[in-house]
Subunit: 385 residues, 2 copies
């Protein structure tokens, strides 16, 4: 997400976005591929079918840069007219990576968003600072644990929630597979886990937050958000690619008081650079904290991808609040120090199943997790920025 000024012959004061694509092709084909992207992401028809000069001047997207990006790969910048998007966040996705997503040789890698378009997106309502305020954690790195496995009944989940809260975990989230199944119905679960958390908070003097998983069609999301709000919930887990980015965006508009943790489920990102999808796009759509799969866990992201992802979530970007990076996905207690040195204190570590592997020592292992995070001395600036 570069911010260099662009002028190259574009008429002022009309506003243009610049979308960046990685195109895999022969050098002799790249100009044609770039032109094809520009057509596809605007008028989507042969230029000779266009009779009006105004449309050619103001609507047709145009290639503004082509640069080598590695062997057989090119970085292509395309300027897209902001007036084709207007104020509709769904049309925004449509115009930056709608039909081009269908091309195997094209990946969506980034965006330059002009101020007037960026102003359409309030972004995170709380962001890192808001999460810190809620948790009473002004500067330290934070912790997150997941209640697993799905299939447990409500009293067992509530007991696990209490254990994690007693151990000092900051945010305790439903596993993302926990929905409204008969073994753990939503309303009953939220009530019990919220109560267990409150009870533990009363005894520890800390502020752990329970974050239930909201999953469903837009109407179901709204119903469950209402129930959660009534029960006093302050943070929720949502998988934006699963519920749909538009529904996610609207949910945040309607329930701005929740802290939103974005779960990566269904976010298979090979065609959208993961650092862009998770680090930028979800922040643009309003998540406060973004869960992503960390290097060296169960998934294949590299150090470079994770650094760019966390960096993007926190970097200055117009008036958007920074979003909190939450590395996850097969993390182990033994890696706490390495992760902290990599991500720095503006991060929240999420350990899932690894806290549970000694079934009789969950409280002890979780305490160790919390204490190791609290005790860590940051030797240097984080590697990821």
């Amino acid at each position: 997400m570069r911010s260099r000024a662009r002028s190259r012959g574009l008429r002022k004061p009309m506003s243009w976005l610049t979308a960046t694509y990685l195109v895999t092709c022969d050098e002799r084909d790249v100009a044609a591929r770039a032109a094809a992207i520009a057509s596809e992401q605007s008028v989507e028809c042969p230029l000779e079918a266009i009779g009006e000069q105004r449309i050619l001047d103001e609507i047709v997207a145009r290639v503004t840069a082509i640069e080598p990006a590695g062997p057989g790969q090119f970085r292509v910048d395309v300027a897209i007219a902001a007036q084709t998007i207007g104020a509709n966040p769904v049309q925004f996705i449509n115009m930056v990576f709608g039909n081009a997503s269908l091309w195997d040789d094209v990946a969506f890698a980034g965006l330059d968003v002009p101020d007037d378009v960026l102003a359409l997106f309030p972004g995170p309502r709380h962001g890192i600072a808001g999460i810190r305020r809620l948790l009473g954690a002004p500067a330290r790195a934070m912790t997150n644990a997941a209640m697993k496995p799905q299939g447990l009944h409500v009293p067992e989940l509530a007991a696990m929630c209490r254990t994690f809260a007693l151990a000092g975990v900051d945010i305790i989230k439903d596993d993302h597979g926990i929905d409204d199944q008969p073994y753990s119905p939503f309303t009953e679960r939220v009530r019990a886990c919220q109560a267990a958390t409150a009870e533990a908070n009363a005894s520890t003097g800390r502020t752990a937050l329970y974050a239930p998983n909201l999953i469903g069609t837009p109407r179901v999301l709204r119903e469950r958000a209402r129930i959660a709000r009534e029960e006093g919930v302050r943070a929720v887990l949502v998988a934006p690619m699963l519920v749909g980015l538009p529904a996610f965006f609207e949910l945040i508009e309607e329930f701005p008081d929740f802290v939103y943790l974005a779960h990566p489920s269904f976010g298979g990102a090979r065609r959208i650079a993961p650092e862009f999808l998770f680090g930028r796009l979800l922040r643009l759509f309003g998540t406060d904290a973004v869960i992503f799969v960390n290097v060296g866990g169960r998934f294949g992201y590299t150090h470079a991808t994770c650094a760019a992802l966390a960096g993007g979530a926190r970097a200055p970007w117009g008036a958007l609040r920074p979003a909190l990076p939450v590395p996850a996905g097969g993390m182990r207690l033994e890696r706490v120090e390495e992760l902290l040195d990599f991500y720095g204190p503006d991060s929240m570590l999420l350990i899932g199943g690894n806290l549970l592997i000694e079934r009789d020592r969950v409280l002890e292992r979780t305490r160790e997790f919390v204490e190791r995070v609290a005790a860590h001395r940051f030797a240097q600036a984080p590697l990821a920025q």
Copy 2:
């Protein structure tokens, strides 16, 4: 989407889905990769963290088959407990391809859905037979044209709509980039295009349908659907991956009278087999007609992919109505006969920009399109089935 009976040690009468994945790896790793998928798509934690036998028996997904699928590639079947899904269509996607979507070596290739789960999905409300009834086209192949380019003002779009309807096109759709921009606001456009279509229908005695593009967050979709319904619209265009599958599903529930055409925008399908995503999943979620990118157009699908896609949209599948295949994406008038022989009469051809390339002969070219489709004699059974 295979329907062979499965028993292999699964307890009855509990119901299990079977999801099929294509896994790219060494043969010596495939068993471990398959087990990892089964864990990820159910309990998402180490098995040793699970204390209850019930959860191991009834909740944990299990690998039921591993077969070679080409060099370095395997077809892996995983049985997933239906009780982890319940009646939530979003949880359905979560449990069949949520976290596994994040693995580069895994693609989602298909599903066996047991009857009790399939019964949760009404599927297409009209399907091929309903579209034929609306159009008064009991047996012939159908035609579809797109109003392009975005940037045209409402009177120009309405004039184009009238031209297409006079030429005898069956469905006239907004280009998928047309939203609610100042140059063609939604309400004004729908009213004008619907009126132009009605006027042309009165003169031809045919039933052309105008299909406006519905794009936006769930609330915006609903508002625009209401406006369209008030204006007498009978068919709409929606891009399900763009608006989100859950919002798409709910829109159809709320507005079942519309014929739904699914647009492929943002459906970049490398991680979900395109024949499965467009041919099956969108049908399951209720589309009546599915627009997809045809072989030999601007996109790279093969004959085999297109045949499987169209075949899947029409094949018997529980009680779900067949969905109408609408090949598109850079189609040319010259290819009409080839396309018809390939897809057969239960199809609708969509030609976009190619009808517009001679700007003074749009009516003539469109008439030629309609007449060539009407005049075609099908020599044989369609190749795609």
